[in-house]
């Protein structure tokens, strides 16, 4: 019997069920008497709902119909605000907004019923995108949202007076733009609900069981004890299943309550893509002042996100974006003005990175611009500005932890052969023939704050537990969901190590609100660091109890198992629960946006090598080096897997994934028209970790999951700068934008010749 240890690539306990096809995702579950639910949605982005017409030629006798009038308590999905209804009732605020729910035992008949409903809509003027929202407000037009044009406004001010703008050697202006990005989990969203007047139970594909419970309690006016949420095996989330599942669970439960039968709602891919949340589109305007030798003196950032029609999570996405907008750089004068604008599009939501990819893109493009203007290497400009221990951030946070950014930079440059290749590529590009690939190498330096911002973790007050059963097995009880990232494995390792036990003795339970305490949502790169800590402490408390029973400190896993079985048989089930303890030194002022934004940060340097085909403008990432310092690596294999998957999504964001909009609706909502990378579109990757103590997780672990989304696209675009000789500032950088840059360059050469 092998003891579980952290720091090792322990095997995943869920892998075998997945490779055998035995893992049961929500669409694999078929309860007795099941009905299939579908949603009737608005085709228009903004309208008054005048009437709902039911085709009289259709047989409605067996169809369950639910409208806003059927909602028992509050027609509202409370997130941070309460502006989003569960079902629209007189005003439509975005295309694809849910108006009516239908259910039937035969899914094809349910679809027929959906086509037999006609919404009578009176179109209203709509604001369809971020630029339109800003122009709309500038004109003083009537706002489309009760809060006004902007649903959240944040300002950060560091440094007094006018700052060094007047005396700076170089003042730059820049604009960076990113589009929406679809999470594209391979398993679409789905829920099954059972409900009556007294209770609601749902199971489905989700990241945050307690968020779902909270929403159901509000809509049905039931106490938490009467609302049970059970996670089904979930096929990817990436943030896309953070808040949206609550709405879907409410819909399924409304139908189930009316039908008095279980109702399953599973989206097909086109509906999932057009109706659910996406990464917030962004527009960032920046101004920066530099010395002649590349030191950043002052920074002004105007950071704008498209929130969509309802507030949902936009305030916190904006917050994270704002707090990452000045990058991992030292700067005494920083002014950031950040706004989330309301538009008549489906609300944008969480997607790995959560605002930081957008603002990191802008600051990194700016640093590359400075490098160009100053005639410095992009790596050198970074090096001259990297934060060090003892510096303060834009919010005035004193960086107490050691920051290994410069060492990471050195290591990344060496591992990727950056300087040598940069020289080689410059020479090769200058003499390239008409079919020779143009190459470039570029980088990004960045960070990601781990856990919830400021006092967020304190507010969450997360709890987790371990339970010793009568069978001697220790069950880990946490609300953290396994969504592919390896949460289950990491908890098993942490608890196993704390106990000195083997994998046979430690079982991580599937989150069920009837069984597990509220450990907070599975988001914000907090699962290993925050919840891992809680299960670690709980397991240590259990271990202390065993020690008190007489178990020697040096016991083998077999002996530990024996002790667990003995105690379990005698006293089981027994539970040890721990609650979050906020580091006392963390002081955060939410109103002035000052203080300690995050207790700790992961630091990273990524280097990308790209090749561009001059015939077609197609860019290919040929090589990628991803270096990060995450404190302690609990499971190296899983951690590398997180980086590799995150880099893949980042390359998609950089080069391939464009959401196209028509009248406020995603028009390319199919996998054939929304382009994610296949195995042929991605490079081999070099992933390396550094472990500098300083994190708050077990053995100093920090968050990792979102980090790769921050620096990948900037590194790719930085490499593209060299390959094509033009600095692009919009994502994605499609061949349609790249080719004219090359054509321009070729024509210039021809003209000269």
């Amino acid at each position: 019997m092998e003891p579980l240890r952290t720091g090792q690539s322990a095997p995943r306990p869920d892998a075998w069920d997945k490779v055998t096809g035995r893992a049961m995702y929500v669409d694999d579950l078929v309860p007795e008497g099941l009905l299939h639910g579908v949603t009737v949605r608005s085709p228009l982005p903004r309208a008054r709902l005048k009437a709902i017409h039911f085709d009289p030629a259709f047989d409605w006798s067996e169809v369950v119909v639910v409208g806003a009038g059927d909602i028992p308590a509050r027609n509202c999905i409370p997130v941070l605000d309460e502006d989003q209804p569960a079902l629209a009732h007189d005003l439509i605020s975005h295309a694809e907004e849910a108006v009516l729910l239908l259910a039937h035992a035969d899914p094809l008949v349910a679809e027929d019923a959906r086509r037999a409903v006609r919404l009578e809509l009176e179109p209203l003027p709509a604001v369809l995108n971020l630029r339109a929202a800003m122009e709309h407000a500038a004109r003083g037009d009537a706002p489309i949202h009760p809060r006004g044009a902007v649903v959240k406004d944040i300002r950060i001010t560091k440094g007094e007076g006018q700052g060094p703008w007047a005396s700076a050697a170089l003042v730059l202006e820049d604009e960076a733009e990113t589009g929406a990005q679809e999470q594209l989990y391979i398993e679409t969203q789905g829920m099954i609900a059972w409900a009556d007047e007294e209770q609601v139970t749902v199971t489905g594909s989700l990241q945050c069981p307690y968020y779902v419970q909270h929403g159901l309690c509000a809509v049905f006016d039931l106490p938490p004890e009467r609302v049970r949420v059970i996670q089904a095996v979930t096929g990817g989330g990436f943030g896309g299943k953070e808040e949206f599942p609550t709405l879907l669970a409410v819909h399924a439960a409304l139908l189930a309550r009316k039908a008095k039968r279980p109702v399953k709602m599973v989206f097909d891919r086109p509906e999932d893509m057009s109706a659910t949340t996406k990464r917030h589109p962004s527009l960032t305007r920046s101004r920066a002042a530099f010395t002649a030798t590349g030191e950043l003196l002052a920074l002004e950032v105007d950071f704008n996100l498209d929130a969509g029609a309802y507030t949902t999570l936009s305030p916190v996405v904006l917050s994270r974006g704002t707090l990452h907008a000045s990058g991992p750089y030292r700067c005494d004068h920083v002014r950031i003005h950040a706004r989330a604008w309301a538009t008549n599009t489906p609300p944008h939501g969480a997607f790995r990175g959560f605002g930081a990819p957008q603002s990191c893109f802008a600051i990194e493009r700016l640093m590359d611009l400075a490098a160009q203007r100053l005639g410095l290497d992009p790596a050198e400009v970074r090096r001259r500005n990297l934060l060090r221990q003892g510096d303060t951030t834009a919010t005035g946070q004193l960086m107490l932890e050691p920051i290994a950014l410069e060492e990471l930079l050195d290591q990344a440059l060496e591992a990727s052969r950056y300087h040598e290749l940069r020289r080689d590529f410059a020479a090769a590009n200058a003499t390239a023939g008409p079919e020779d690939l143009r190459r470039g190498i570029g980088l990004a330096t960045f960070m990601h704050g781990a856990g919830f911002t400021g006092s967020g973790e304190k507010r969450l007050a997360s709890r987790a537990a371990v339970e010793l059963g009568r069978d001697g097995v220790v069950r880990v009880l946490a609300a953290s969901t396994e969504i592919g990232q390896g949460a289950t494995t990491v908890f098993q390792q942490i608890v196993g190590e704390a106990l000195g036990a083997g994998a046979e003795q430690v079982l991580v339970e599937m989150p069920d609100t009837a069984r597990v305490p509220d450990s907070g949502p599975t988001v914000a790169s907090r699962t290993t660091m925050v919840v891992g800590n809680l299960v670690d402490r709980a397991a240590r408390a259990l271990r202390a109890a065993l020690t008190a029973d007489g178990l020697p400190l040096e016991a083998t896993p077999a002996t530990v198992a024996q002790a667990l079985r003995a105690r379990g048989a005698a006293r089981g089930p027994e539970r040890w629960e721990e609650g979050y303890e906020h580091p006392g030194w963390v002081v955060w002022d939410e109103d002035r946006y000052q203080g300690d934004a995050y207790p700790t940060f992961a630091w990273a340097v990524y280097v990308a090598r790209v090749a561009v085909d001059p015939l077609t403008g197609e860019a290919m990432v040929e090589d990628f080096t991803a270096l990060q310092d995450i404190g302690h690596v609990v499971n190296p294999g899983l951690a590398a897997g997180q980086v590799e998957g995150g880099v893949a999504q980042g390359i998609g964001l950089a080069l391939l994934e464009e959401v196209q909009w028509r009248q406020g609706r995603m028009s390319n909502n199919r996998l054939s028209t929304y382009i994610v990378p296949t195995s042929l579109d991605l490079p081999p990757m070099r992933v390396l970790f550094r472990e500098t103590p300083g994190g708050y997780g077990p053995k100093g672990a920090k968050g990792l999951g979102e980090l790769p989304l921050d620096g990948t696209a900037p590194a790719v675009l930085s490499a593209l700068d060299q390959a094509i000789g033009v600095r692009l500032t919009r994502l994605p950088a499609l061949p349609e934008a790249i080719l004219p840059c090359l054509t321009q360059a070729v024509e210039a050469t021809h003209a000269g010749a």
Binding site: S9, P11, R12, D14, A15, W16, D17, K18, V19, T20, G21, R22, A23, M24, Y25, D27, D28, Q183, L184, Y185, I186, E187, T188, V233, T234, G235, G236, F238, D268, R269, I483, G484, Q485, G486, G637, L638, A640, G641, E644, G645, G646, V647, A648, Q649, R670, L671, S672, V676, T678, S679, L680, L682, P684, M685
Partner: protein, 165 residues
């Protein structure tokens, strides 16, 4: 009686065993298999782009969402549930689990079958050939790095073991 109501009877080999199914003629193979309880065959997109529904028909990789059930009459069908009894597929299952080729698991059945189809026709593929063979199976979790590693590892072990068992 409308023609689509006329059920047809199919006789085929399913995961090594003779099997009979009765279904409407237009039913997709994907729907038939899932109806037969083989929920390891997944629907990811319904248009043959993601490969989550991939199965083997006479050892050839197909997207079951784009095939009619009636087209497997007289043929042999292998799903992930039949992998344990297949030399290449069984080795790949172990390799995927060992090498980190599995994260959320939704692409995994189709990915294992696509890898199996590759190794059956090309037992010693280079990485580029592996990537090309898997290009019709989308994975959003892994970036494909450890999937390619798993296929390479399985192919090495199969060749070392040599011949048929």
């Amino acid at each position: 009686m409308r023609e689509h109501d006329l059920a047809i009877t199919l006789r085929y080999t399913l995961n090594g065993k003779a099997h009979t199914s009765v279904c409407p003629p237009g039913l997709r193979l994907l729907d038939l298999l899932r109806r037969e309880g083989l929920t390891g065959v997944k629907e990811g997109c319904g248009e043959g782009e993601c490969g989550a529904c991939a199965v083997l028909v006479d050892n050839a990789l197909v997207n079951s969402c784009l095939m009619l059930a009636l087209q497997v009459d007289g043929r042999s069908v292998t799903t992930i549930e039949g992998a344990a009894a297949d030399r290449e597929l069984a080795e790949l299952q172990v390799a995927f689990a060992r090498e980190g080729g599995v994260q959320c698991g939704m692409c995994t059945p189709g990915m294992v079958l696509a890898s199996g189809a590759l190794l059956k026709r090309s037992p010693d593929p280079l990485d580029e050939e592996i990537r090309e063979a898997l290009a019709g199976n989308l994975c959003r979790c892994t970036g494909y790095v450890r999937i390619v590693k798993a296929v390479r590892s399985a192919s090495q072990r199969l060749r070392a073991a040599g011949g048929q068992p």
